[in-house]
């Protein structure tokens, strides 16, 4: 058997794949956080809860309406995005003039409420969501066994990340968004409906989180706690990447996911905390974050 650094190649590649999958979720989530923060100046603590909502909506759609994975992949983000837009319009938008910390505290309360509600109805244990038939099974690549669904997650989240990046960097709507990030008053004076833009942005961020949630449902189990477990790690990712750049958020997400996966191979005890350790080191060397502009 081939060995790499004294570790069987199979195990090494297996953990690398898991790292890549975790990295995909980190990238999707930190991307959404960065988009929301860029325009709204709000750190969306409810991002984890919206990710969890995505997974639950997909599961409930399957259970009660018989809607399959493929439709859920489109519908669940729409539902959660709409929910996010309503929250933004009715409540979050009242906090823009205040210290950004209030936005963080509000979304923290929102996250607790959503998580608490689902825990009340569904308990803390996870529920399975089956891999769709078309993506079941695996394929032998010769050097490792690849479960098809995991490969799919990596590919589709890369596409979603690049798609969002293109939307923001290359389209007219994205140009408005970037302009409003720089100077909302001026953009408003040019006749762009900035409040609507803010609502759309928050909805988009929530939808991205829900999309990640649907993707995650067959990999992990659908559980009310899945959101708060991941959001704190994503915060660390965001601190490392800095929220100044969309591409930075994506790259950092993948990098840290892979770093976490590799730690599992070489020193499993530290795999829970490796991202936080990296965060501390980055803070020492480059306090503004790897891709950050603002301190």
């Amino acid at each position: 058997m081939t060995m790499i650094f004294g570790i069987p190649l199979q195990a090494f590649l297996g953990q690398l794949l898991i790292g890549l999958i975790n990295g995909s979720f980190y990238a999707l989530l930190s991307l959404g956080l960065a988009v929301i923060f860029g325009l709204l100046r709000v750190i969306n603590f409810a991002h984890g809860a919206q990710y969890m909502l995505g997974a639950f909506v997909a599961m409930l759609m399957l259970q009660y309406l018989g809607i399959n994975y493929w439709f859920a992949l489109v519908l669940a983000p729409l539902v959660v995005g709409l929910f996010g837009a309503i929250i933004e319009r009715t409540m979050l938008s009242r906090l823009y003039d205040l210290d950004p910390l209030y936005g963080l505290l509000f979304t923290f309360g929102l996250a607790l409420t959503i998580e608490g509600t689902f825990r009340y109805f569904y308990g803390s244990s996870g529920q399975p969501y089956n891999v769709p038939a078309a993506l079941a099974g695996g394929t032998n690549l010769g050097f490792m066994f690849l479960p098809i669904y995991r490969g799919w997650v990596v590919v589709i989240s890369l596409i979603a990340c690049i798609g969002t990046w293109l939307l923001i960097e290359k389209t007219k709507l994205g140009a408005y968004l970037r302009a409003a990030t720089e100077n909302p008053t001026l953009v408003q004076a040019f006749g762009v409906n900035v409040p609507l833009l803010l609502t759309l942005t928050y909805g988009l961020g929530a939808a991205l989180a829900a999309f990640a949630g649907v993707l995650a449902a067959p990999v992990y189990q659908v559980s009310p706690l899945m959101g708060s477990n991941i959001i704190i790690v994503v915060f660390a990712v965001v601190v490392v990447g800095g929220m100044g750049s969309i591409m930075g958020a994506i790259l950092t997400g993948y990098m840290l996911g892979i770093a976490e996966g590799l730690t599992k191979v070489f020193y499993p005890e530290a795999s829970n905390i490796v991202i936080f350790v990296i965060m501390a080191i980055v803070l020492l060397i480059r306090p503004a974050g790897l891709f950050g502009r603002d301190a």
Binding site: I43, G109, T113, G116, E269, N272
Partner: protein, 332 residues
């Protein structure tokens, strides 16, 4: 160098002579209530309340008086609970020394976390403290001395100074009350010192404080360590009261809870967090007997507070007509 601090203090005292008298009256009433309270309420409940009140006031030192939102204060509270429990149970230290070990440990943790966190501001500060406290949580989950999911159980209360038996609930209550009062006195003295004035100036306008020549980072770190040590005092006492230390105390939910207490009572008011803590503890006690989950209530209260009630209970009272007539003034 401390001219500004002095003049601010002077004008504050000039304006609030009535407030000083009102404060004095409230303090006397409050003290009397705390002394006779065990006759009316379940002492364990009161002790829990005092622990959390001190914790919230320590937290408020940072949020209310320095403008730094720490999302990881559970680390210092729960960390100290572990240290005290370990020192008393495994090393056989007396309770007062055990609590001191907890305070010292929390201060050290505060120094480490603060060292990293003050490198960034505002929202990033909150995220860094949260991430580091999650790291500490995983450390406590795996470290041998914390006994993982079980926590440190049946911690002996021992004899205070080798004399007073703390297994007696009444003795324990007055010991907790004394520690609470000492903690409050330290906080009061701290925020009214020149150091505290400089912290307030950092809160109001950090750039200006820098341009006036203050080494802002050092003051922030000082405030952070102070706040951590006092949170540790609360945590150490809590370990003795309940005779155990568990992962609940270091989890992020605990950090959220102390924020809620402070927000509910009134950010930046000296006594607000005490009332906030009282309300949250009472609410949790009440809900514990019902089927309804605490998290939902906490979450909704959080949202309502942020949307409609940002001054908190005491802040609203200070700003109300009665409050102003009594000479209070709510700034911020």
């Amino acid at each position: 160098m401390t001219d500004i601090a002095h003049s601010a203090a002077k004008s504050a005292t000039g304006r609030s002579a009535t407030a000083a008298r009102s404060y004095a009256i409230f303090i006397v009433i409050g003290l009397a209530a705390l002394v006779v309270a065990p006759a009316f309420f379940y002492p364990i409940f009161l002790m829990k309340l005092l622990c959390f009140a001190l914790f919230a006031c320590a937290f408020n030192l940072l949020l209310g008086y320095t403008g730094l939102l720490s999302f990881g204060h559970a680390t210092f509270f729960g960390g100290a609970a572990y240290f005290t429990a370990h020192a008393v149970k495994e090393w056989g230290l007396s309770p007062e020394l055990g609590v001191l070990v907890g305070v010292a440990g929390a201060a050290l943790l505060g120094l480490i976390v603060g060292f990293f966190a003050i490198r960034r501001q505002g929202i990033y500060f909150a995220m860094i403290t949260l991430a580091l406290s999650q790291m500490f949580f995983f450390f406590c989950l795996q470290a041998p001395f914390t006994h993982g999911e079980d926590g440190i159980q049946s911690v002996p209360r021992g004899r205070l100074f080798g004399l007073v038996d703390l297994n007696d609930t009444t003795n324990m209550y007055y010991f907790v009350l004394a520690v609470f009062l000492v903690g409050m006195l330290v906080i009061w003295r701290f925020i009214n010192s020149p150091f505290g004035m400089i912290l307030k100036s950092i809160r109001e306008n950090e750039q200006r404080a820098i341009s006036l020549g203050y080494s802002v980072a050092r003051y922030k770190l000082g405030a952070f360590v102070m706040s951590a040590a006092l949170a540790g005092l609360a945590g150490g006492i809590k370990a003795l009261v309940f005779q155990f230390a568990t992962l609940t105390d270091v989890a992020w939910q605990m950090s959220g809870e102390v924020i809620l207490m402070t927000l509910l009572g009134g950010i930046g008011t000296l006594i607000g967090p005490i009332f906030g803590a009282g309300l949250v503890v009472a609410l949790e006690n009440y809900l514990a007997t019902s089927q309804f989950p605490v998290t939902i209530v906490t979450g909704v209260v959080f949202m309502v507070c942020v949307l409609l009630f940002r001054r908190g209970l005491i802040g609203e009272f200070y700003a109300s007509r009665l409050g102003r007539r009594l000479g209070f003034e709510h700034r911020r």
